[in-house]
């Protein structure tokens, strides 16, 4: 609160807020709306029933008709508020519609049926979360399979990435051997060769290895990231060599030096690489799109894409699935945002 107070009382001009303060605040407010608004709207919409999603203009909150069980009727009946005619002001339950008239009953006195013009009534609605959008994902849309495929690729690829990249970084930062500079330059040079320009030949390699339609066809091509090697090498250079030599004096093997000394000391850089790798793999789209053609192998991203491409897009489950797909990344971001932004600002990679 004190920051707000100091902000409100601080002044650049002589008299209160000056123009730039107003503009700054206006800009930030608009930005919050523009950056968060769409995601928020998606999340709200994902709790609406399919019929509420068809509604135009849409309501802000997910609303559903209020239903009432009326004595003498097996199914629950929708409630309406009557806005005109002789029953104006009453809340009645609709039994059925016949042409322009609706047969309605008073839930308190179910014996007597009355006729109301359909233009003289508006549905009674209340805030209801259509959780069935989410449950049907598990029952009818194989969500767990796609989720598992995505998690498998993300976790395995990240473990291999961290292992391979840290081993290479260790070799490049802690040993003097002939060809070291050449190897380092070669690895850094691949930063300039994005996989997008090698799609066809990478596909050949993957298909020769029999990895088409296999999660490994997505995992292997991506694990040797030059970014990771570079990031870790720069960090490991700051670890003093004396520490390693002391361990070697005690007859530690090189593997032990790497695993027991260098890796734990590189934890901050490893954490940055883990975050990046999770982000890359979870969000990856083009390469899985090429390698994974069978729907049993689809990742969440591919499943979302194939559902939205259907002629009859069923928006309700699609929106729910989109929310579940962005949820893990959002949670990770909410918890780690300070480290993520710092990591990116320092290394300049994404």
């Amino acid at each position: 609160m004190s920051t707000v107070l100091s902000f409100l009382t601080r002044r650049r001009g002589r008299n209160g807020f000056d123009l730039t303060d107003w503009l700054t605040w206006l800009y930030l407010l608009a930005a919050v709306l523009l950056m968060f608004g769409p995601v928020f709207w998606l999340a709200l919409s994902s709790f609406k029933t399919e019929s509420a999603l068809q509604e135009y203009p849409p309501t802000l909150l997910p609303l559903a008709p209020v239903m009432a069980t009326v004595e003498g009727y097996e199914e629950p009946l929708p409630l309406f508020r009557v806005t005109g005619g002789e029953h104006e002001g009453k809340v009645l339950a609709q039994v059925r519609r016949i042409g322009l008239n609706a047969q309605m009953v008073d839930p308190a006195a179910p014996g007597e049926r009355v006729n109301v013009n359909i233009n003289d009534r508006v549905p009674e609605r209340e805030f209801t979360l259509a959780l069935e959008n989410y449950t049907t994902l598990f029952e009818r849309f194989n969500f767990l399979l796609y989720f598992w495929n995505s998690v498998f690729i993300t976790v395995i690829a990240t473990i291999i990435t961290v292992l391979f990249n840290s081993m290479a970084a260790f070799a490049l930062s802690k040993y003097r051997f002939r060809g070291r500079t050449l190897v380092f330059i070669l690895i850094i040079a691949t930063l300039m060769i994005p996989p997008t320009i090698n799609l066809v030949p990478i596909f050949l390699v993957v298909s020769e290895l029999g990895l088409v339609n296999s999660p490994w066809g997505v995992i292997w091509p991506a694990v040797a990231t030059p970014t990771g090697v570079f990031l870790l090498r720069q960090y490991m250079l700051t670890i003093p060599d004396d520490l390693l030599d002391a361990a070697r004096m005690d007859h530690a093997s090189e593997w032990r030096v790497y695993w027991r000394i260098v890796l734990p000391l590189s934890a901050p850089a490893l954490a940055v690489l883990v975050i990046f790798s999770v982000m890359w793999r979870w969000n990856e789209f083009l390469w899985p799109l090429i390698v994974l053609n069978r729907s049993e192998e689809f990742t969440l991203q591919l499943a979302l894409n194939s559902f939205q491409g259907d002629l009859q897009t069923a928006w309700a489950p699609l929106l729910a699935m989109t929310v579940l797909t962005l949820l893990p990344i959002t949670l990770v971001f909410a918890v780690l945002q300070k480290y993520i932004t710092a990591g990116i600002a320092q290394s300049g990679v994404k």
């Binding site: 700054t24 081993m167 040797a224 993520i340």
Partner: protein
């Protein structure tokens, strides 16, 4: 709640150590303490060779051979035919006069996309970074606001906006509420193009804002204090101090975003599929469709188009190298 997880992780960590300890020790005895570096390098280099170095060379073989076979031994040599077919054009400014008019439409679209997306994104990122660099409360929060979309997957980004922009979406409902004309945003060619630029700026500007902000914060404050003592106007401070000192960061950001924009694909593919017609078709989508989505799969043509794109990227990368070197010297 985390205790069992950390215990399990520690167990796996120790287990992995012991698993590799003996074989690595045996290797160390064979290689000696220095050359074991190659053993550490080996897995990474193997992957690099298979999926980066080898494909670079193979790409040239594909670009100079024809047919829809993936195995190189089954592909007849056609020389520069693929390139000739892509580049056959009476007038490069008019895609209709080209043999592969779709490719040239994609090139034109990508050109416009790169100019508009990078131009406006850098502008907005710079303004945002300047705003966030001011002494405002909740700065961390606002920084996250801009950064959050960067983490979202392209498919999610596209679906978020598709839901808003559809004919009976919330944007048209709002416009109608204000008595403004409604538009079928993703069906009208010019609007569809506007929205792919807009959405891709929305999704990526947070990243560049962050880098520019770091650049701004690296400018020493005593420079500003000195300017204030001399009574320099705000505009003068901005144009004579902030901009020149931010220029190195700016150049890196511009080149980086150019490289990304040339390869734009994901969000746009999901949002518009390149349509209506080929109004939002970009080069990478052309490559993807030529090589993988359409039948017959014209791998040679796709590889040739990739190499042309690689040429553009190479020029941009060399520009970046020159810029960073200049930055390091300056």
């Amino acid at each position: 709640m985390f205790a069992p997880v950390t215990t399990a992780a520690a167990f796996v960590y120790r287990g992995a150590f012991e698993l590799f300890e003996r074989p690595m020790l045996a290797l160390q005895k064979m290689t000696g303490a220095q050359r074991i570096a190659w053993v550490f390098l080996f897995p990474n280099l193997l992957i690099f060779s298979a999926f980066t170095f080898l494909p670079i060379i193979l790409n040239f073989f594909y670009a100079t051979t024809g047919s829809d076979r993936i195995l190189l031994s089954e592909r007849p040599y056609v020389g520069a035919e693929n390139f000739a077919s892509l580049l056959a054009c009476e007038n490069y400014l008019d895609p209709n006069s080209c043999g592969r008019d779709i490719f040239w439409r994609a090139v034109h679209n990508t050109g416009w996309f790169v100019v508009l997306q990078v131009g406006f994104m850098i502008l907005f990122s710079l303004v945002t970074a300047l705003v966030l660099n001011r002494d405002i409360p909740f700065r961390g929060f606002f920084r996250s606001v801009f950064f959050y979309p960067v983490l979202l997957s392209p498919v999610v980004v596209a679906l978020i906006w598709k839901w808003i922009l559809q004919r009976y979406g919330v944007l048209n409902a709002t416009l109608e509420g204000w008595q403004l004309p409604v538009v079928n945003w993703l069906v009208e060619a010019d609007w569809a193009f506007f929205w792919i630029v807009f959405v891709s700026i929305w999704a990526h500007m947070g990243f560049y804002t962050l880098i520019l902000l770091a650049g701004l914060q690296a400018i020493p404050s005593d420079v500003y204090e000195a300017a204030e003592m001399d009574g320099a106007s705000k505009w003068r401070v901005f144009s004579k101090i902030t901009m020149p000192l931010l220029m190195p960061t700016m150049v890196v950001v511009i080149v980086l975003s150019l490289i990304r924009a040339v390869q734009a694909f994901d969000e746009i593919f999901v949002l518009t599929g390149g349509g209506p017609g080929s109004a939002t078709l970009l080069v990478l989508q052309f490559i993807y469709e030529t090589g993988f989505a359409f039948r017959p799969q014209l791998f040679g043509l796709a590889a040739a188009a990739s190499l042309l794109m690689a040429g553009v990227l190479l020029v941009l990368t060399l520009m970046q190298l020159a810029a960073t070197r200049k930055q390091a010297e300056g």
